[in-house]
Symmetry: C2
Subunit: 297 residues, 2 copies
């Protein structure tokens, strides 16, 4: 399958953790593919060339050879929205464009308008609190859910191709509408990030009054606040482009907390713990085989 | 130091994750110590004997030899509160008693009353969502904060002995009052647990309407909901014996969430992310050397 004749040439714009990891995975699964890399950080480009990750690199996307089959936009969401308007004049008429942004509705709306039938949004739910090409990992996508968010029916054949390509990298592809994607990840990812930030913030505030708050911390707090170290510039774009759903999610979570607080007084949270425990049973980590959406024939 | 002449005989009541891990650590650091184990689960006792963890075991605490120097109560908090009234008639006049319960005010009050000058509360902030002797790990205490919560001044020499003993197991001992301990861990541990339960519960609820909520989950959610799998019976006791502080902590957290939600609309959470990021800098994992409270001479 890795000898497939598509894609032959792939451009990745943004050689950070995600773009770098995608590149490394492609390099491994598709050794014949020519990889081009673009990053405004010249040191990232130099590193990617030195590592043999890309065969050609540039600090800016310029007119791409028409023979580039696939362009991945792996920058933060704000930069994706700035890049998209430039793409129609820079890429060939057959080039398929996808992205790795964490929110999809705004990006897909713009992509479909500017590159009708040639843009398919994507979002790998992988990553870590680390960032940059130095943290890139060819295994980052393996087993990770990877949403593909087409808009419009005209994309069917391209969608199948792209989904198969990503599945060969080990990703668990799920095809879903952009708005539905944003509604779901507002809870599973964006709310989660904000809770981590809020919890870490509370402990830091308390720690300013009494430094023992910073010492009586176990592994649970460490797990729960690991995300809080994620870089804000990436999250700023995510929060801005999905503010309404995140606002709803925060409202729902606050209601659940209020319920927990009420039951704390009556002394019975068994039902809450039991419900929470169900998540572990359903966890993708426990059930990998079931989670690859069948894609076409 | 491990050739120290105190303690020579140690009894551990409760051979679960914590008691088992404590026993394994003692076995390693103090090979000369005689370990006795008590657990109402006969299979845990049999396993502990088979592993060579303990030299003698029983399903119930009975009259202990007066030569037992130290008894650790490593059961859930509720069982500690039930065990304490039996201890004065079962142990020698020189035996020091400590516990590993997650809340300290109620336990220490009872311990000080029933065993004046001979009870010192303890709480290792270690553990995992797993439980039982099979999950015990001799390294669980290494680097972990370990609160010792004496009540009254008469305990000084015993406190020093116990603190040194635990430091030799690799624990980072912090001496703190029981009420202050409970106020702090209400935020760093108990709130943290409830947030994990609330988040996992929200995703499970959503997942019942749309199973894609259970599929579009990344590593961040996994980290944030790992705690939610902790067994409820242990937490029931913790929540009941620290309800007032946990109630305050939930209130504070809800205020922070409200502030985050307000700022989401104005689009600037930079200050919140920056404050949260400070926790990582202060993280004990980054600063182990500073975190051992000097204990006496």
């Amino acid at each position: 399958m890795s000898e497939s004749d598509w894609p032959r040439r792939v451009t990745i714009v943004g050689l950070g953790l995600m773009g770098g990891s995608l590149g490394l995975a492609i390099r491994r699964a598709y050794p014949g593919v020519q990889l081009f890399g673009v990053d405004r950080n010249r040191r990232a480009v130099a590193l990617a060339l030195k590592l043999g990750l890309i065969g050609r690199g540039a600090p800016k996307l310029s007119a791409e050879p028409a023979s580039v089959d696939l362009v991945f936009l792996a920058t933060p969401v704000g930069a994706i929205l700035e890049l998209l308007p430039c793409l129609p004049t820079l890429i060939g008429a057959q080039t398929l464009v996808s992205d790795l942004g964490s929110t999809k509705a705004q990006i897909c709306k713009m992509g479909e308008r500017l590159l009708p039938g040639r843009f398919i949004g994507g979002h790998p739910l992988a990553g870590s609190e680390r960032s940059g090409l130095a943290a890139a990992d060819p295994e980052l996508l393996r087993g990770a859910p990877y949403a593909l968010t087409p808009c419009g029916d005209a994309q069917e054949p391209a969608l199948e191709r792209l989904a198969r390509f990503l599945q060969m990298l080990g990703a668990r592809v799920l095809i879903i509408g952009p708005e539905e994607h944003d509604r779901i990840v507002a809870r599973t990812s964006h709310l989660t990030q904000l809770l981590s930030v809020a919890l870490a913030g509370l402990i830091v505030e308390k720690g300013r009054e009494d430094e023992r708050y910073l010492r009586l911390c176990g592994g649970g707090l460490r797990d729960m606040t690991r995300l809080a170290a994620s870089p804000y510039p990436i999250w700023r774009d995510v929060l801005r482009t999905n503010a309404s759903e995140i606002d709803h999610a925060l409202g729902e979570f606050r209601e659940i907390l209020e319920r927990l607080q009420d039951r704390l007084v009556t002394g019975d949270l068994q039902a809450e713990f039991a419900r929470a425990g169900e998540l572990i049973e359903h966890s993708p980590a426990n059930d990998r085989s079931e989670c690859v959406e069948p894609v076409g024939g």
